[in-house]
Symmetry: C2
């Protein structure tokens, strides 16, 4: 419970933009995953960096935990209020402060969603390539080092955040990075805050890199008799340095799911969904190289189009995949895994994972950003059923162990949050102690999203 | 002076691979810049991570400063032993531990030079794109977040280091990152150590991203009546999203320098030097788009080739530029500036800089990685002449102020070292305090390259 004086201080400058209503607190205590609700004691809705600073200062003086919140779409319990405290909901900070098309960058507040930004910049021939599945905020995406389907060509938030304004645990404001495309000036604080999951400070402004909408976009779909064939095609494509923009894998279980969900009639075998960006000549050449490679691995029914309507049709299965998978079992929650391995190990890693899943009683469609070596199994669990959760966790543990043994990581894009703390330790060993020291240096009283990434 | 017991401990396990000979210490106390010699008390030549750990442990127990050293080619006094101590020369750690062509990555020891690596991987159709001017080591390049001419397409060391093995100030060894192409697992320690200039730990192994040698490489040269015309062509090229691999600017003073040095007869006007990477069709298309753009800005004498010999000829001026500039004034040293600005401000920034230089009595050829917005003025100074140094520093200060006002950075690729400490403060303000806190958390006794980046 918050002390009265804390609440009074917050109300003093936020008025009705601070709430302790149970429905609002509950809504802010659960993300889109299977992790149980842990509600904060109050939720604030600041509209400026200055207001964030004031909230943080009040909390800091009273040793109250702070949990930053974007759209609540994370998947590892990142926003759970383990020790109560104040949730800072940044979704009202939706200003697109500046778009500089001549430099292909922009400055936005953290509550801007990627959809909002993309609509705003489209007329200027620009787009922002990072596209996690959910309708998330750019602040949340930076905080969790998000990526998505375009990362194989355009990188992740790591590569596309140029600079940040950050409110620190003591209420001070710093700016990191610059608008220069590169810099050797000091420690890379931008990259330190990107992916810090709210544990080091609150991101209140972001300078993002934008990209030119390609002259031509072409989409393609191709199916394969086995997942191995599909993945081997991906490996060959990456090794041939085809500058592919998207190359997404869905296995037969997830294809079956979208057939049901979107009333499609795709053959129930593994598929790759692709996108090529470039000039007319370039996309044609890329598609030809890819098509030839896919034939070497029994690829069939290669379809290709540059027409927007046709392109959407080709990709509809992939676009609806996550919700289609969840719909396979009404009322379930997704316990979503997220390993990423060196591309040469991807086929083996997926094959062994599939074998594990097939031997279990759980349903687990598999799909992923194959070009990065990143894939997800979405275990469809009843969150009330402990034995199901336990089984999913057992399979998940095996996946992570396998990925680490292959030189990979326990999370390609979802982050650590609550759900992967033990896996972070397995992956980074003594490095976690260095993370803890950095956290203590910047947040000595551990008020910034405590218990996430690093254990309480 | 080192205590006898420290020296004895080092000799115990390094034998004759520790030296206190004056010539060796002096050689290790000066980089390639104008900064005066500050020699360490001893130089160690370890051959393994384990030996580095032992050296660090001895120094840590005795509070002796440690200065890591690669090839000594830095430009901001990074290796000056301000408080004496032990230089750890990593140039004997030259093993290429593994090249995994199927994943396009490799693991190397820090003393491997980029030339050594490139020769080793060439037969596998791979190359490493980061190419600072000097024959530097990959460890030094990572430590200073180096870049070079290919950064506009392939990024800098920031984008091309996947993971590190680091010996910390207390002698512990950690590994950061992984071989996965992306990860959301914890704070981005890899990016924290890349560019940390030896202040947080010693890099003893690097996992690097490699790239496929393009099917076709084409080089081009074009000249312009004014620097503005050249830069405006660069801006238009970047904005048109031409995936250019290199786009380098030399002004008339530096062209004059290479004419003399390399016995060329280029017209003494600004030039752009270019490289296109891709398939036969792609490089042709890129060159055509570029050539048309350059004509809009009075570009003339566009020359283009895909033949290796002809390509080398076209680029010889650019390759020899730095030493050609120094040769304009025999016996001088280069006080090299390194600002980087958003591309839209580059023409204005260069024009105002040129005006400053023209109004001074110093000679200062200008050249740069125009596609990144990064350029250098090489002030040719007599390092014994205080008034020349002072004048160069005055001009440099004005350049940095201008770059920062334009949203840029005080150093695109050379780093802070000794020479830019005040500029780091101007650029990052309170952010420097955060850097200091991180430094204290990882190196509480300030033994790791003390006085560099952060003041003593």
């Amino acid at each position: 419970m918050l002390k009265d004086k804390v609440l009074q201080s917050l109300v003093l400058f936020l008025g009705d933009r601070v709430s302790t209503a149970s429905a609002i607190c509950t809504r802010h205590g659960q993300d889109e995953s299977w992790h149980p609700v842990m509600a904060p004691d109050a939720v604030c809705f600041p509209k400026s960096t200055d207001e964030v600073t004031k909230v943080v200062s009040v909390c800091a003086s009273n040793n109250v935990p702070i949990i930053p919140f974007g759209a609540g779409t994370s998947l590892e319990g990142h926003i759970a209020a383990l020790k109560g405290g104040v949730c800072i909901d940044l979704s009202k900070m939706t200003e697109i402060i500046a778009v500089r098309s001549e430099d292909m960058d922009c400055t936005v507040q953290p509550g801007v969603t990627r959809d909002q930004l993309d609509k705003y910049i489209r007329d200027q021939g620009l787009f922002f390539p990072i596209d996690p599945g959910a309708e998330c905020t750019l602040g949340g995406m930076a905080a969790t080092r998000a990526s998505g389907t375009n990362a194989v060509r355009y990188g992740t938030m790591r590569e596309n955040v140029l600079g940040l304004t950050v409110v620190l645990a003591d209420g001070r404001i710093i700016t990191t990075g610059s608008r220069a495309r590169k810099s050797a000036a000091g420690y890379d604080l931008t990259r330190l805050f990107v992916g810090s999951e709210g544990g080091l400070g609150i991101l209140t402004e972001l300078v993002l890199r934008l990209h030119s909408i390609p002259e031509v976009i072409s989409s393609a779909v191709v199916s394969f008799p086995t997942v191995e064939d599909a993945v081997n095609t991906v490996i060959a494509t990456i090794q041939a340095a085809v500058p592919i923009a998207r190359i997404e894998l869905m296995d037969e279980v997830s294809i079956d799911a979208v057939n049901r969900y979107s009333k499609l009639s795709l053959p129930v075998i593994p598929h790759l969904f692709l996108e090529f960006h470039g000039t007319q000549a370039a996309v044609k050449e890329q598609a030809e190289i890819f098509s030839n490679l896919s034939k070497e691995f029994s690829g069939q029914d290669f379809q290709w189009s540059v027409e927007p309507e046709e392109r959407s049709k080709l990709w509809v299965a992939r676009h609806n995949a996550y919700y289609a998978c969840l719909a396979l079992r009404p009322g379930c929650k997704g316990l979503t895994t997220d390993v990423c391995v060196p591309i040469s190990r991807l086929a083996e890693c997926i094959a062994k994972t599939r074998l594990d899943v097939d031997q279990s009683h759980l349903l687990g469609p598999l799909l992923g950003h194959a070009g990065d070596g990143n894939f997800h199994v979405i275990f469809l669990v009843d969150p009330e059923n402990r034995s199901e959760i336990k089984e999913a966790e057992r399979l998940h543990d095996r996946m992570v162990e396998r990925a680490l043994a292959m030189g990979g990581t326990c999370t390609g894009e979802h982050g650590i949050g609550l759900g992967k703390i033990k896996h972070l330790q397995a992956e980074h060993g003594d490095g976690v102690d260095i993370m803890r020291r950095i956290k203590s240096a910047l947040d000595p009283h551990n008020i910034m999203n405590p218990g996430k990434m690093l254990p309480l």
